[in-house]
Symmetry: C2
Subunit: 327 residues, 2 copies
């Protein structure tokens, strides 16, 4: 008989909250539910929505397959988290104060909950059930509202001394470059997160660059988003291509650093920004191969994620299971 035990995976991002039921034996999420993260409404509002989405997901799966047993919850949140204490710390993309999200979700759902950084969840998800399955060690990068990352070395997530390992988005490659939300300068995130791709596109247009982007937003440059830049790419806009090329070169320099430092078997890149496809990956690979050590670059493949929209949910569930098994 097929295992009917499930784990609820929750991915709290800067843009959306995603909830899904993941089979405990491994596999993709069934019944994925998404809603906008109303970060301004605060974390208690988020907990209420997580509980509601969880009930909806359960009803949907039970309608299709009969009663399910949910053994626990894995939840991924942005920024540094205190895993032991179950706290979201300073998630500057959400604007939340430290908040005991693990216990609040546990009370709301009456289930055991494990908390982990959202990028670690997405990377673990890709390693457990996605593009990273063939590898013992990989580096994952999440390109979205923020840039995160995670490291799997010999099948184990590297958490570090205080649980914050993997913050690849805050690798500075232009030491006196753009100010980053983290307080430093020239971080990958300051150039290549969705909002910063949009900001850089706007800045060029403000000083006169020609582009179809102006029409796409009816001249309201402040309405440009990374998605608008992507639409312009599909329209073969040279300026949008240049913006994406600069993005890719910065990311390539950062990934070359990571490849020199960790010599991973694979780098898996996930998140909304990967929609740019070859416009992102081709110049990114060219730049990192130009910069990284030959031996290290040759041993490393660069892959897009295989679990779009659900790597975080699958990984959060997988990490709950790891933890429940004592790992």
């Amino acid at each position: 008989m097929k295992d009917s035990r499930w784990v609820l995976g929750v991915d709290v991002g800067g843009t959306n909250i995603v909830v899904g039921l993941v089979p405990a034996e491994g596999g993709r999420a069934a019944s994925l539910r998404v809603r906008a993260t109303r970060s301004m409404a605060g974390p208690a509002d988020a907990v209420r929505h997580i509980a509601r989405l969880a009930r909806e997901a359960r009803r949907e799966v039970e309608a299709a397959r009969g009663p399910v047993e949910i053994v626990g919850v894995g939840i991924g949140c942005p920024g540094p988290v205190d895993r032991e204490a179950g706290l979201v710390l300073d998630a500057f993309n959400l604007g939340w104060e430290p908040f005991p999200i693990r216990d609040r979700v546990s009370e709301a759902l009456e289930l055991p909950v494990e908390l982990e950084n959202d990028a670690n969840c997405a990377v673990f998800g890709e390693w457990w059930q996605g593009a990273g399955r063939p590898f013992h060690s990989l580096v994952g990068v999440t390109l979205g509202t923020g840039i995160g990352g995670g490291l799997v070395v010999n099948g184990e997530l590297v958490r570090g001394a205080s649980g914050t390992a993997g913050e690849i988005g805050h690798m500075s490659v232009v030491s006196e470059g753009r100010r980053c939300a983290c307080g430093s300068y020239g971080c990958l995130e300051a150039y290549a997160s969705g909002p910063n791709i949009a900001a850089r596109a706007q800045e060029g247009l403000e000083v006169g660059a020609e582009s179809v982007l102006r029409e796409l937003v009816d001249g309201r440059l402040e309405n440009i988003t990374a998605l608008t830049v992507y639409e312009a790419l599909l329209l073969d806009d040279a300026y949008a291509r240049a913006v994406m090329q600069d993005t890719a070169r910065i990311l390539g320099a950062g990934l070359a650093n990571v490849i020199n430092l960790l010599n991973p078997e694979a780098v898996v890149v996930v998140g909304g920004v990967t929609r740019a496809g070859k416009h992102l990956f081709a110049p990114l690979e060219a730049e990192l191969r130009r910069r990284a050590f030959h031996h290290a670059a040759r041993s490393c493949v660069i892959l897009p994620g295989a679990l779009p929209d659900q790597a975080g949910v699958v990984g959060a569930a997988g990490l709950f299971l790891r933890s429940a098994a004592g790992g």
Copy 2:
């Protein structure tokens, strides 16, 4: 009875070859022998000198303590090495072609030999017997003719997919900055290796900077070395201080990247450049704490190495023992 088994540690650097006998039970090297690496004379010359230094070291220890049993040899060499095949690959600081140094040293000494990257050896040495002993995980940085590094995670050296993990010297923090010997731009090594500290000092003097350095080299600016800059620091020279401050800021930006990525318990900094002491460490710590994530920086101590001149020898010996024990 005290264990009389010893391991020969060999550290082939860009400047010196160092050989020493290390007790198999752990401890510092006895009878350290040093001679200049005549890299122009090629690797076969180096093998002859290693064999001679090994015989001298053995005689010296035996004269003091009676017969010793040497169980094997650990050897550290610069640049990427092929550990499985026992080859030095492209050690651009030595100018050697790929060379089977492991087997040649093994033939010359009639002992089993393990080969590892020199920076990995130094870092493992500091972790095994030096400043890193209290920690499960650390990042080591070697500042010398080149800049290398190594990673210990949960008591294991991280080697990576092709054995080249830890190349922290080739982390670019100024993406369009100084050209590096590795082919990339703006790497830490391009600013903060001994020869590049000297080159930057020279460049400033060539465009008119005032400094006691001119007198120290009798106006022959091409004779400035990192050691001359260090002498000028001791004479309280403002220009030398500025050169070292720039060096420290670049290294601080690089270490902030590493701390954000790996969240280590400690960073141990070793090598000749650490002679600059507080002139290096104070601005380096200030810069990295300004840049790194607060939670990660707070969990990490920055320490100078505790095994000057012999971390590489001790670590090479330790890695031979690890390998002989099947690790």
